[in-house]
Amino acid sequence: MSTPGSAQPRPGFIERAGAAVTSRVAIVFYALGFFIEILIETLRYVRRRPAGSRVLAMQILFTGVEALAVTAVLALGLGAIIIVQGTSLLPQFGQQQLLYVILITVITRELGPILTALIVASRSGTAITTEIGNMVINHEIEAYIASGINPIAYLVVPRFLGVIISMVVLNLYFNIFGLLGSWLISQLLQPIEFFQYFHGLFSALSVIDVFSSLVKSVVFGAIVSAVSTFHGFRVERSSTEVPQTAIRSIGQVFILLIIANALITLVYYL
């Protein structure tokens, strides 16, 4: 072992850096391939609606319906705070009309999509990674392959669609609760006349706002589901890998969400 001839030379810094870069690039390409495969299978799924429709419904149930309460509470609170603060601060500058612009900017355009995405990522993203990771360990994925069931078509696509649909719908509910529900709450503190409020709101709200909000939700849903499933499949053998992978996955999801949010907002303002 200690003879110089037999000692394996330790790879140099450049070699190691090169290997690290190569493996990183390989993972990125692999992930891209994974994502393209998801898109292809999604198109096929939409066309022929196979046995996975129940999985889709379950995914919407878990990701969307069960996250409704927390989303609603968050939206109500946020909207009511904006209304109460806005109605007390803005008239001091004679800019009451800005209340609606602020509500729409905060709830519809910015925080609505990103907060629902964070809720969904932390609830369902980790659940998806954990579930798929455990499936890999239990050889359930191999069982799907052995039964001729494409795991991407059967496992990933319903989650992909389910998370996207849930995200869009939750974002809608976030807007409903944040814009309409919070009006009710603000009645307790600082009443605004119903007609005045909704007229101001719908005059300030543009279709572009709604559209960009929904586009964000679609993109965020795709990110959460694709990254979570991708990491789930990266679990190899041991059940101890599952929590580690889930943590890595959620971190990556958050970073990608924030980057995507910034990019879409940039495009919106350009």
């Binding site: 196979p50 046995a51 579930e131 050889h139 359930e140 191999e142 069982a143 392959i145 052995a146 039964s147």
Partner: protein
């Protein structure tokens, strides 16, 4: 030797820098039963899964009737998969589904238009006399290891495959269930189904095996008709046969006698 349906060519598989399979080439005979034997960690299960196309080898290829298994996709892949059944050693049942759903899903997936009644009657027929028929609405977690294995075995058969691959179907299974599985396999063998499996069960080996494949440390050590391999003069092969087929490996008798005894039971 009849025409090979599944053929593995120069397959190598490396995991975490450890060579599990090293350049294995083998042609599994059609309409015959091949049992793979080898000590623990010799790569039996990996070879079986690669042969079934569950994951691709790092090098080499696997073909079914001349078609590269790992290169197919879409409808071709589904067509191919319907012909290959795989029973997992640990069951690998889908935990979030009931036993019935576990058995029904392959049918629903491959035959989306099949009526629910027909799916139910097919599954009833398949489950037949197995006691798990009482547990069809339970989840896999509620079953014993042996019951899960039986379900996995039945799931592999639900699509009526032409090739059945199985990984130790009788371990952890009580004697009665093991006998049922043996009977089931014998039935498929009679119908001309190609069987490829791993088993430590002497009775099963003696009753079913047409060919034996002995692998040691990721390489093929012996492959041929049962008697030919069993009477091999290779000491290592003999040792493997003895150790593997006799659970305790306590006796030092002739492996052929052992197999003959088992056959006459």
């Amino acid at each position: 030797m009849s025409e090979a349906k599944i053929s593995v060519q120069h397959a190598s598989f490396v995991r975490d820098g450890f060579t599990v399979l090293d350049d294995i080439s083998i042609e599994f005979p059609d309409a015959a039963t091949t049992l793979i034997l080898g000590p623990s960690g010799s790569g039996k299960t990996t070879l079986l899964k690669i042969a079934a196309g569950l994951f691709p080898p790092d090098r080499g290829k696997v073909s079914y009737n001349g078609i590269d298994i790992t290169a197919t996709s879409g409808a071709n892949e589904r067509e191919l998969r319907r012909k290959l059944g795989f029973a997992f050693q640990d069951g690998a049942l889908w935990q979030n589904m009931t036993i019935f759903q576990n058995l029904a899903l392959p049918l629903q997936y491959h035959y989306p238009r099949m009526p629910a009644d027909e799916i139910r009657s097919r599954i009833d027929r398949l489950v037949g006399a197995f006691p798990i028929r009482r547990h069809m609405t339970l989840r896999p977690a509620a079953l014993s290891a042996g019951e899960r294995k039986i379900v996995s075995f039945l799931r592999a058969l639900v699509l009526d495959p032409q090739v059945l691959l199985f990984d130790e179907p009788t371990s952890f299974v009580d004697h009665q269930a093991a006998q049922r599985i043996e009977a089931l396999l014998a039935g498929y063998k009679r119908r001309g189904t190609t069987l490829i499996g791993i088993s430590h069960n002497v009775e099963l080996t003696a009753q079913l095996a047409d060919y034996l494949l002995v692998i040691i440390a990721g390489g093929v050590r012996a492959f041929g008709p049962l008697r030919e391999v069993a009477s091999s003069s290779d000491r290592e092969v003999q040792q493997v046969l003895t150790e593997v087929l006799s659970d305790a490996a306590t006796f030092d008798g002739d492996i052929l006698d052992l197999l003959n005894n088992a056959e006459s039971d």
